[in-house]
């Protein structure tokens, strides 16, 4: 439990209540997970924080049905994932609108694109091009410390299915990024 997380649940729950203690533990442990899941979709820390906040708030409202850790974390991952996809779609509409307006004014689109390197942008595009099922396991597997068994428990599918989806996701991304294969130094 990190220091940031420890201070989250305090005033919102009554001390001495077992439900409150369980809630406090879940709220302490999980904002980072929700934030990272959202980052995997949005890649914008501020927007990911908004999604994580909303996901935690919904978890708080439904906590009586999510008391067990085995249910809470998968529920939170799914909720954060869906909220992030929704936010991404909304942001996409907004960006397209703003881009069209900027182009109409003759301004370059460079600002957002300049932040990331070309390779990172292509990886992000390849990740976005994956089907949702593959993309979710790819993101969860990239979150520090999660092996295929933990990803399976978070998504609620067998571990073998996670391995299959991971392989397909990596293969599809590698095929999309073949043009970079000569530029990457072989270690």
């Amino acid at each position: 439990m990190d220091a940031m997380a420890c201070s989250i649940a305090g005033p919102a729950v009554r001390s001495g209540d077992s439900l409150a203690r369980e809630l406090e533990a879940c709220l302490a442990e999980c904002p980072r997970l929700a934030h990272r899941v959202a980052l995997g979709v949005l890649r914008n820390p501020t927007e990911a924080e908004d999604v994580a906040q909303e996901a935690m708030l919904r978890a708080y409202r439904n906590f009586a049905q999510l008391r067990e850790r085995e249910r809470f974390r998968p529920w939170l991952v799914r909720t954060a994932w869906r909220l992030a996809l929704d936010a991404r779609r909304a942001a996409g509409r907004r960006e397209r609108h703003e881009l069209a307006a900027a182009e109409a004014r003759g301004e370059p689109e460079a600002e957002a694109l300049a932040a990331a390197s070309e390779f990172e942008r292509h990886v992000a595009a390849a990740l976005d091009a994956l089907p949702d099922k593959l993309r979710l396991v790819m993101v969860l597997a990239a979150i520090e410390g999660y092996n295929t068994r933990e990803v399976a428990s978070l998504v609620g599918i067998p571990e073998g299915t996670v391995k299959t989806r991971l392989f397909r996701a990596r293969q599809q991304m590698a095929e999309r990024l073949q043009c970079f294969v000569k530029n990457i130094p072989v270690g």
């Binding site: 940031m4 997380a5 201070s7 989250i8 649940a9 305090g10 005033p11 919102a12 729950v13 009554r14 209540d17 439900l19 809630l23 709220l27 904002p31 980072r32 934030h35 990272r36 980052l39 995997g40 890649r43 820390p45 990911a48 924080e49 994580a52 906040q53 935690m56 708030l57 708080y60 409202r61 439904n62 906590f63 009586a64 049905q65 390779f119 990172e120 990886v123 992000a124 390849a126 990740l127 790819m138 993101v139 990239a142 979150i143 520090e144 991971l166 392989f167 990596r170 293969q171 991304m173 590698a174 095929e175 990024l177 073949q178 970079f180 294969v181 000569k182 990457i184 072989v186 270690g187």
Partner: protein
């Protein structure tokens, strides 16, 4: 090579590929490049999702959670209990609305005109007897006065579940002020979920049965509800 780098080969296939790459420089380079690409992709995605929430994240979430209602209260209340509460409120509203219409016909009792609706003195244990003031907007003050023993015109009594007197008085005030349609509440309280229908049933004499089979669908006046 892409499949090999993505971890999609079986142990046997991997051994075979390694054996071939050990004696084929071109394939060895291609395999190394594919592995380097896979590693770069993995590292890039890990970097993407490695961010931490800002320090103010916790304070913001704490503020939002504090503004929320405590989850252990409502989430533990079964839905049927909520329904029962609403039904009780509707019943109470029905009593409150009907009482003023009957009020002039009732003789005032010796004890300040107080009357009783329901079982009278035999009050069941989970209910508390509360007084009701149909038209008054200051009903709480009158109830307090009645409890204090002061002379107050209380036309009758209704039974209110414990701790719901305040809600009953709120509802009374809302009905009197016209914010709640009391007549509609009464209708809803009296409306059965699925009203029964009565139909006459005619049965033919037994000696006609041998003339032809009578199916349930063709039987005269026979209406099966299922």
């Amino acid at each position: 090579m892409t499949a090999a780098a993505a971890g999609g080969l079986s142990a046997g296939q991997q051994a075979e590929l390694r054996a071939h790459a050990s004696c084929c420089a071109a394939c060895a380079r291609e395999l190394e490049a594919a592995r380097a690409l896979a590693t770069a992709i993995k590292g890039t995605i890990e970097t993407m999702v490695s961010g931490e929430p800002r320090p103010e994240f916790a304070a913001r979430l704490r503020a939002r959670l504090s503004a929320e209602q405590e989850p252990s209260r409502w989430s533990r209340v079964p839905r049927f209990a909520v329904g029962a509460g609403l039904a009780a409120a509707a019943l109470l509203a029905a009593l409150l609305i009907r009482a003023p219409m009957r009020e002039p016909a009732r003789p005032a009792s010796a004890a300040g005109g107080q009357q009783t609706i329901g079982p009278g003195p035999a009050v069941s244990a989970p209910f508390a007897r509360a007084e009701r003031l149909p038209e008054a907007s200051d009903s709480r003050a009158k109830v307090r006065a009645a409890r204090a023993g002061r002379s107050t015109a209380l036309p009758f009594e209704v039974l209110v579940p414990p701790n719901q007197l305040a809600a009953a008085l709120e509802l009374n005030d809302a009905v009197n002020a016209g914010r709640v349609d009391g007549e509609r509440l009464v209708e809803l309280a009296q409306q059965p979920a699925s009203p029964l229908k009565w139909e006459s049933l005619e049965i033919e004499p037994l000696d006609h049965a041998s003339e032809g089979a009578v199916t349930p669908a063709s039987g005269p006046g026979l209406a099966l509800p299922f």
